[in-house]
C-alpha cells in the first residue's frame, strides 16, 4: 500500500511548495483543482520525479473509476438465481410461496432506493388517486412513501405475532426511513417460514400478498417520479396479485350495489345457485381466466364456470393490478369487452373501488 499523504518526510518545506503541491495530486488527477492550482502542479511535475511518478499512478487509477451500476442487472435475475440455488439444494426452511412476492418486491424497491441520488429523495411524489379516499394529488416524498409502507408492514407484523418494530423517527425522514422498513420486511419473510402450513388462501397469506402489492404499487410511484424504469413483478408473483384482486371482486361488487352505485340491475341469485358471472381474461405472464360471480358476494371466484358468463372482459395483467391500485381509471383499463356492458362497468368499478379499502 502506498504511503499516506501525511507524514511524507521527503522535501519538507521545500521552497517550490512541493509539500503543498503533492497534496493536490489526487484532485489534479481527477481534474478537480482550480485552473491556478492546475498550472502550478503541472510546472512542479516537470521538476519533481517522485511527484511525476505518483501523478502518473493516480492518473491511471482515476481512469478505473466507474459509476456503480446496480440497476443494470437484468430484471428477473434474482428469481433466476434463487430458483437455481433451490433446485440444486432444496430448502429445509422454505420461504412460503405466498411470502415470496413480498420478499422480491421489497428487494426491488430497495435496489431502486440504492440507485437514487441524494437530491432525488426530495422529489415530490404525487399519489395519483385512490389514496386518501380517492382525493388525487396528495404529495409526499420517497421517505413519506416508505413511512406509509412501514405502517402497512407493521400491521402485518402484529398479525404474525412479531414484537412491535421500532418506528422510524419522524413522519417523513427521507432516506432514514429505509433501514427500519427493510429490516421489518426481512423479519416478516423470516417469520413466514414458521407459518408454512398455513394454507394458501388464509388471511395471513393474503395479508402478505397485500403488503407485497402495496410495495410494488408505491415503488412504481417513486420510480415514475424520479423517472427510472421499473419492470413488472416476476410472473408467478404477478399472478398471485391478479388472483388476490379477482377473489376480492364479488365482495366489492356487492358493496357498491348496496351503496346504490351499481349500474346493472340487481338480481338475487336463488339460494344454492351461483347466478351470473363475468369471465375475466387476464393477459400476460401473471394472467389466466377467472370467473367472477356478480350476484352473490360470498360465491367463490374460480377458474372454471358451468353456465354461460354474461360478459367477458380482457385486460393486461399489469393494467388490471394498476386498476385495482387506483392508478388506471376503469374506462382505460380493458383491451377487449364482450357481452353485458353494465356488468362489465360494475366489475371494473368494483376493482377500482378496492384501492380505497
Amino acid at each position: 500500500m502506498s504511503s499516506l499523504p501525511r507524514g511524507d518526510a521527503s522535501a519538507e518545506a521545500a521552497p517550490d511548495g512541493h509539500q503543498e503541491l503533492m497534496t493536490l495530486l489526487g484532485a489534479w488527477a481527477l481534474a478537480a483543482c482550480t485552473p491556478a492550482e492546475y498550472e502550478r502542479v503541472e510546472t512542479h511535475l516537470g521538476t519533481c520525479a517522485p511527484c511525476a511518478a505518483e501523478a502518473a499512478r493516480l492518473g491511471g487509477a482515476a481512469t478505473l473509476l466507474e459509476p456503480p451500476r446496480g440497476l443494470d442487472m437484468e430484471p428477473g435475475l434474482r428469481e433466476r438465481v434463487l430458483a437455481g440455488c433451490l433446485a440444486r439444494r432444496p430448502a429445509t426452511r422454505p420461504v412460503p410461496e405466498w411470502a415470496a412476492p413480498l420478499d422480491a418486491e421489497a428487494a426491488r424497491l430497495d435496489a431502486l432506493l440504492d440507485d437514487m441520488a441524494e437530491h432525488e429523495w426530495d422529489t415530490r411524489i404525487v399519489l395519483r388517486c385512490g389514496e386518501d379516499g380517492g382525493r388525487p394529488g396528495t404529495a409526499t416524498t420517497a421517505g413519506g412513501v416508505l413511512g406509509h409502507l412501514f405502517m402497512l408492514d407493521a400491521s402485518l407484523a402484529r398479525l404474525t405475532g412479531l414484537p412491535d418494530p421500532p418506528a422510524p423517527r419522524g413522519a417523513d425522514t427521507g432516506a432514514g426511513a429505509r433501514g427500519p422498513w427493510r429490516e421489518l420486511v426481512r423479519a416478516l419473510v423470516r417469520v413466514a417460514a414458521d407459518r408454512e402450513g398455513e394454507g394458501d388462501d388464509g388471511p395471513l397469506p393474503d395479508a402478505y400478498r397485500e403488503c407485497a402489492f402495496a410495495c410494488w404499487t408505491h415503488a412504481r410511484d417513486i420510480a415514475d417520479a424520479v423517472d427510472y424504469p421499473y419492470a413488472p413483478p416476476h410472473g408467478p408473483h404477478l399472478r398471485q396479485f391478479v388472483d388476490l384482486v379477482a377473489r376480492r371482486l364479488p365482495g366489492s361488487v356487492a358493496r357498491r350495489r348496496r351503496s346504490g352505485l351499481a349500474q346493472s340491475p340487481t338480481r338475487l341469485a336463488p339460494a344454492g345457485e351461483p347466478g351470473r358471472a363475468l369471465h375475466l381474461e387476464v393477459e400476460g405472464a401473471g394472467g389466466g381466466d377467472w370467473f367472477i360471480p356478480v350476484d352473490a358476494p360470498d360465491a367463490a371466484v374460480s377458474g372454471a364456470w358451468d353456465g354461460t358468463p354474461v360478459a367477458r372482459v380482457a385486460l393486461e395483467d399489469v393494467v388490471f393490478c394498476q386498476l385495482a391500485a387506483g392508478r388506471v381509471p376503469p374506462d382505460e383499463a380493458p383491451s377487449g369487452e364482450h357481452g353485458d356492458r353494465l356488468v362489465i362497468r360494475d366489475v371494473l368499478s368494483a376493482a377500482a373501488g378496492l384501492s380505497r379499502l
Binding site: S2, P5, A27, A32, R88, A91, R186
Partner: protein, 183 residues
Amino acid sequence: MAHLTPPQWDRDIRRRLEHGDAAALSELYDRFATLAHGIAQRILDGDERAAGDVTGEVFARLWERPSAFDPARGPLRTWIAAETHRLAVAALREGAGPGTPDETAARVRAASTAARADYIVGSMPAPLHDALRLTRFGRHDCRETARRLGITEAETHRRLRLGLQLLSSASRYDPDAADGTDR
C-alpha cells in the same frame, strides 16, 4: 453501498444457510448480488447473460456448501468478490474467442484490474468513497465537493489523493495469483 460486513453477520448467515433457511439465501443475495454482478460484468465486458450466470454460480456454490466460506479467514464480502472474480476470469478464458494467448492474457489482465478497482472503491471507507464519488461522477470541483461533505478543501484534497492511492493498487494485482490465493 455496504462497506463492511460485521463478522457476526457473516457467521449468522453461514449458520442459517447450513440449516437450509431460504430466507437467509434471499438476504445473502440482496446484500451481495450488486457486488458479484458488478465484478462479473466488468470482467466479462458487459456480457449480460454470462455475468448473470457467474453471479448465479457464486450463490449456488455457497448455498450448496456454506462451509466453503470460513469466517476465520476473512469477511464474506471478500470471499464473494474473490470467488466471482475467479469464476468470471474462467468464463472469460473459456469464451475468449479469436486472438493469440498473449492477447487473451492481456484482456484477462485488464478485466481483472477493472473489476479489482470496483471492489476497492466499494470497500474503501465511506469518507474516501464519498469524496471520489462526488468529484468523479458528480463532476464537482474540490470546492463544491468540500461544501457538500461539510469539510475543508484541504481535507478534500487529502481524501481524493488517499482514495486514488488505494485504487492504484488495483493495477498491481495479478489475476493468476488471485485464482487460489486471494482469500
